[in-house]
């Protein structure tokens, strides 16, 4: 969930291309590595938690009730052993179930996208420029900006590359935090997870990515002359 928006070939290529004049291999490698590390770290940490404390009440199921990807869920008639459901009935059932999934997800997605679009157009993005001279503040500002802008991970590197007044490490924080937690994802995560967990996830990611960038990644960049 956290790694897939970053650790995929399209994002690797687009990041390399966007930073082709600014240490492309280093920036792409650090984005990939930091994104993977944070996702694994958070995954391991969440693994220790009780599912009841994470998932919404209606999402907690026994393993026999969980749906598997690409499996067309059996219709009631087939469960009762009635062979009367033909391929048309199964297709209709699959379409209806996919539509149900879509409606429940799109509801939250649309709200998140609307809020993000409001910020994206109505807020002056130049307001954060004065923070560029302070590394820690600029890291935080860029992560907040990434959360608000809710950009696609395949194109966010092109936006990050244009913030030339900001240090490289702040742009990396933008590129790692944004795809993991933004306004759209805040609402999407709320479909499955408890509110408390979603908030904790957001705060945890903000602190983890921020600390790693401010304490470790900044030195890697410094050693490479950035």
């Amino acid at each position: 969930m956290l790694a897939s928006p970053i650790v995929n070939p399209i994002v690797i290529f687009s990041t390399f291309f966007a930073f082709r004049a600014q240490a492309p291999a280093l920036n792409t490698g650090l984005r990939l590595g930091l994104g993977y590390f944070v996702a694994v770290f958070v995954g391991l940490a969440v693994g220790f938690l009780n599912p009841n404390a994470i998932l919404r009440k209606d999402e907690r199921k026994s393993s026999s009730q969980k749906r598997a990807g690409f499996r067309i869920a059996p219709l009631p008639d087939t469960q009762s052993g009635n062979p009367g459901v033909n391929i048309t009935g199964k297709t209709v059932g699959a379409i209806r179930m996919a539509s149900d999934d879509f409606l429940e997800t799109a509801f939250y997605f649309t709200i998140g996208a609307a809020i993000a679009a409001t910020f994206n157009t109505a807020v002056d993005q130049q307001l954060i420029l004065p923070l560029a001279s302070h590394t820690t503040l600029s890291i935080m500002a860029m992560m907040v900006l990434a959360g608000i802008l809710t950009l696609c991970s395949t194109s966010d590197a092109f936006i990050a590359a244009t913030f030339v007044t900001f240090p490289m490490v702040t742009r990396l924080a933008f590129l790692v935090f944004g795809p993991m937690f933004d306004l759209k994802l805040l609402f999407l995560y709320s479909v499955l997870f408890r509110k408390r967990f979603v908030i904790a996830l957001g705060v945890g990611l903000f602190l983890l990515v921020g600390l790693l960038c401010a304490c470790i990644i900044v030195h890697i960049y410094a050693s490479q002359g950035f």
């Binding site: 649309t110 993005q125 696609c152 092109f158």
Partner: protein
């Protein structure tokens, strides 16, 4: 009865949303929002949503959509939630599609902030200026490189360039030599700055309108220009380049500035 109401609302939501997507594709409005390579997906997604909505409307809910009757779709048969789905997913998109001007105004341009460094544009260093269908981009530049002096021509014989072409030229000396001194025509949106200078603006998109950023070429004029901010204009003039602190900057010296229709592709990619 409750299930039937939910069924109808959910189906209408899908049909309404899908119809907006399909119409945006068919009437070309999607061109103002999305990179060309993604546009066919809008048609596919829209058609899929319409079909799903029709299936929803024409079939009845079994009452047990998931395994063992323990449905994870907790809201799907609740008319209040179905009404909320209809309002948030369908009506909001329909309202947005109806009210949208399909363009950025100067306030949004100011909020987004200009890309000041041409090297940040894709293609600035490779000369593969664009993978889009923009008429004057990429292919023209490459052609100009292979046949110096053979720039794309407008009907009146002037070189017909895009804002991006001039910005790319800041980073490419051979292209600068090709363009310098030629009479060129460039179409863009007027954004006033000072009496003797204005910005010729275009929006540059990587993926979709969400990541659109304004780019511009400064235009020097001899007198005030009688056009409104963000109005489309065609500037005819000559191009000059100057170097300051190792960085080359372009300046378009206008001989004439006249109102123009928007280009077929309002966005650059």
């Amino acid at each position: 009865m409750r299930a039937k109401v939910s069924n109808a609302l959910n189906g209408l939501t899908l049909v309404g949303l899908g119809s907006v997507f399909v119409l945006f594709y068919l009437n070309g409005r999607i061109d103002q929002y999305l990179n060309p390579i993604f546009r066919p997906l809008v048609l596919i997604a829209g058609a899929g949503a319409v079909i799903a909505g029709l299936v929803y409307l024409l079939t009845t809910h079994s009452g047990q959509c998931c395994v063992d009757g323990d449905c994870i779709h907790r809201h799907i048969n609740n008319p209040a939630w179905s009404l909320a789905f209809f309002g948030v997913i369908c009506l909001s998109v329909l309202t947005g599609a109806t009210l949208s001007k399909d363009a950025f105004d100067q306030k949004i341009v100011a909020n987004r902030g200009f890309i000041e460094d041409a090297t940040k544009l894709p293609g600035a260093s490779s000369f593969r200026a664009s993978n889009s269908q923009n008429a004057a981009l990429g292919a023209h530049i490459n052609e100009a490189m292979s046949k110096p002096g053979d720039l794309p021509r407008a009907e009146d014989g002037n070189a017909e360039l895009e804002v991006t072409d001039l910005l790319y030229a800041e980073t490419q000396e051979p292209l600068r030599k090709t363009i310098t001194g030629k009479t060129v025509e460039v179409v863009g949106q007027y954004l006033g700055a000072a009496n003797d200078q204005f910005k010729l603006v275009r929006m540059f998109i990587w993926c979709c309108a969400a990541d659109a950023r304004p780019i511009y070429v400064p235009v020097e004029v001899s007198g005030p220009v009688d056009v409104s901010d963000m109005e489309w204009v065609k500037v005819t003039g000559t191009v000059e380049f100057s170097t300051n602190k190792g960085q080359t900057h372009v300046l378009l010296k206008a001989a004439s500035v006249e109102a123009s229709d928007p280009p077929e592709e309002a966005m650059l990619y």
